[in-house]
Amino acid sequence: MTADKSVSHVSRRHFLAGTAVGAAAGIVGFPAILKAQPKSIKVGILHPVTGPIAPSGQQSRLGAKLAIDTINANGGISSMGGAKLEPIYADAQSKPDVGAAEVEKLNEAGVSAIIGPFASGIALATTQAAAKHGIPHIVDVGVVDQVVTRGLTNTFRFGPGLSKIVDTAMENLVTLNNQAGKPAKTVMIVHEESAFGAGMAKTLNEKLPALGFEVVETISHANPTRDFNNIALKIKGRNPDLLIPSNYYNEFVLLARTLRQQKIRPKAIYAVLGGAASQYRFVQEFPDAAEFVMDCNHWFDPRNPVALELKKKVEAEKAFFSYEVFLNYECVRLLADALERAASADRGAITQALAASGWSNHFMPYGPTKFVNGQNVGAAPVNTQVLNKDIKVIFPTEFANAKPVFPAPKA
């Protein structure tokens, strides 16, 4: 903030100098002086950094901040004379109505675009509020399908939506099972009860039977669930080959820990958007409970040097390199690419540039971006597995850096 103030202060002095010169030499010198001082481009960074989903919101903000710092350090937007990105941080407080109100505030502040807001429920509200002002809104996570199916032309989701994630997860599960000689037939689903887990369980229940899996039981649980011993009991009783959990971090940690205590080892724990299965924090704090857990989730291309460098930088900040961080990092870079091509901070121009985006310089396993109805059609999740206390990519093969271990070895 202070740095920015000094910039505008300088430009004001230049401006005054310019008028003085202009008075002497005619009006000609005026625009040149204005152009020499690149204006900053205001970007709204809107996440739930307080309230129940603050952990994800704070990680998201970190990712966006790191990207903006990097872009500014490397000379800003060159097509706009090195204009810097100026983040304006906003807090949705984990509530859709607050998120929508914050969009109004960002609009007043004159942002050129908004990035955020992690949760689907908030995204539904913020994209709509932004649409009224024609503000391009890049959705970082917000996986629920309706985020991009309401015909809002300002909404762009860089990452994959729920249906795509479930489809990929199922496809990879079948491949995995076939490769191992079909050891898995029965499945149990344990999911959290809000939009994301419940939506997931519904789709899984529709798809799994057609793929030759029998869903023996689906258990929905509250957030927070204080004790997982009963769920563990049920799992023990049903003895499924596969366990598919879909929950937030806290609940996943408790579930994994309880399974370990109760010595329950299905042939695989195959999470879909698992809350912790591809979180380095979980792997570091509970290496034994995490080992062999598989997850279908947002993940970076593990061979990309930019991603690995960013991972080091995030860890240097004493944070964990989670999907919230790298998705937001890439969303900012996606916006920067659009700004380069639009060469303008105008909302309409940026929206057009985003819609025509074919950005390939990112480190996600997506291919060049291509937006159809606001969804980046190349976006896809990957499958990871915790192997030797590290998170490895096992599918798709072109990005994989490890072979899957399935079924998991018995203790």
């Binding site: 859709p96 109505d97 809000s194």
Partner: protein, 326 residues
């Protein structure tokens, strides 16, 4: 009469706001403040005038919200129709819980806790059934325009809420002077004494909770059109219940303008917190909490208590004159 003039003045002053204020942010700010004032007015009716402290007004808010969303999505009902039915449904829920709770004579903290439990029961139920969208929630289709209560401009919602708040102010004004209001306040002060005077406390409280529920339910219906999304936590979670009770208590319990004052004050405090510590997550809410505690410590009768002497129009005029002299 003074109160009536104040109500009319309040509405007249705010009426042209969308035309005078260019900033959409401030219009939204005012709209949300009015929304919470409206919700607080619902609570004030039962809590402020009736002395029955509910910790679970989300029960009514959520019922109204779900009612209008379900009718609109599954039955294609018009949003204005949904608004009316939402108020009726929430009023019925109010009557039902009231009948049960007052029949068994629950008062004070017992009443507070039982309303909280009812809201939780509804939250769990909404989470479990298909027609409420279960945990996924319900998404109301975007159909901008007056016909579906989704206005093209920000001003539309502002005027709608101003009209609702104004109507509630008039209703409360009527209540203070009506026989029913006198009965309700008698019950608040001392139930046994009221009974001795021939007031039926059960009947009186039942009417109050029904009306309070209906108003909170209609607030829920407006919320749904404003944000087009509802899920069990937004609808029945404790956040809305807390908001509903904070507003009138801070503003002044059992006063006509208490909820309006409280809503504007709380919103202003939250905004100040965000302006001061916007980039430090948490600190803004710490400031909010501190101001809340300070207000309780130093303004035990709410904001309205502060201005009781000097708030009348006459004294307001005196205040301005004094200012001119200085």
């Amino acid at each position: 009469m003074r109160n009536l003039t104040a109500i009319i003045l309040f509405c007249l002053v705010l009426l042209p706001a969308p035309l005078l204020i260019q900033s959409d942010f401030w219009i939204t700010w005012l709209t949300l403040a009015l929304f919470y004032a409206y919700l607080g007015q619902a609570w004030n009716l039962l809590g402020g005038y009736g002395g029955q402290f509910s910790f679970g007004h989300a029960l009514f808010f959520g019922t109204g919200a779900y009612c209008t969303a379900i009718l609109q999505i599954h039955f294609g009902l018009n949003a204005w129709g949904g608004f009316v039915l939402a108020a009726i449904a929430a009023g019925l829920v109010g009557a039902g819980t009231g009948w049960l709770v007052f029949r068994y004579g629950l008062r004070g903290s017992y009443f507070a806790l039982v309303t909280l439990a009812f809201a939780e029961v509804f939250r769990i139920l909404a989470n479990s059934f298909e027609f409420t969208g279960a945990g996924v929630g319900l998404l109301v289709p975007l159909q901008p325009g007056f016909a579906q209560m989704q206005f093209e401009t920000k001003a539309g919602f502002f005027w709608l809420l101003l009209a609702l708040v104004g109507a509630c102010l008039l209703f409360t004004y009527w209540l203070q002077n009506a026989r029913f209001g006198a009965r309700l306040m008698a019950v608040r002060e001392n139930e046994d004494a009221a009974r001795a005077l021939g007031v039926d406390p059960f009947d009186t409280k039942l009417r109050a909770i029904t009306a309070s529920g209906a108003i909170a339910g209609s607030a829920g219906a407006v919320y749904v059109q404003l944000f087009l999304y509802i899920d069990p936590n937004i609808a029945y979670g404790p956040a809305m219940s807390v908001e509903a009770l904070l507003v009138p208590i801070i503003g002044g319990l059992g006063t006509i303008f208490g909820p309006v004052l409280g809503a504007f004050a709380l919103h202003a405090i939250a905004e100040i917190g965000r302006l001061a510590f916007g980039d430090a997550p948490g600190l803004n809410l710490v400031l909010y909490g501190i101001l809340l505690v300070l207000m309780v410590l130093f303004l035990p009768n709410g904001l309205f208590g502060l201005g009781k002497v000097s708030f009348g129009l006459g004294s307001l005029r005196r205040l301005f004159k004094g200012g001119a002299h200085a």
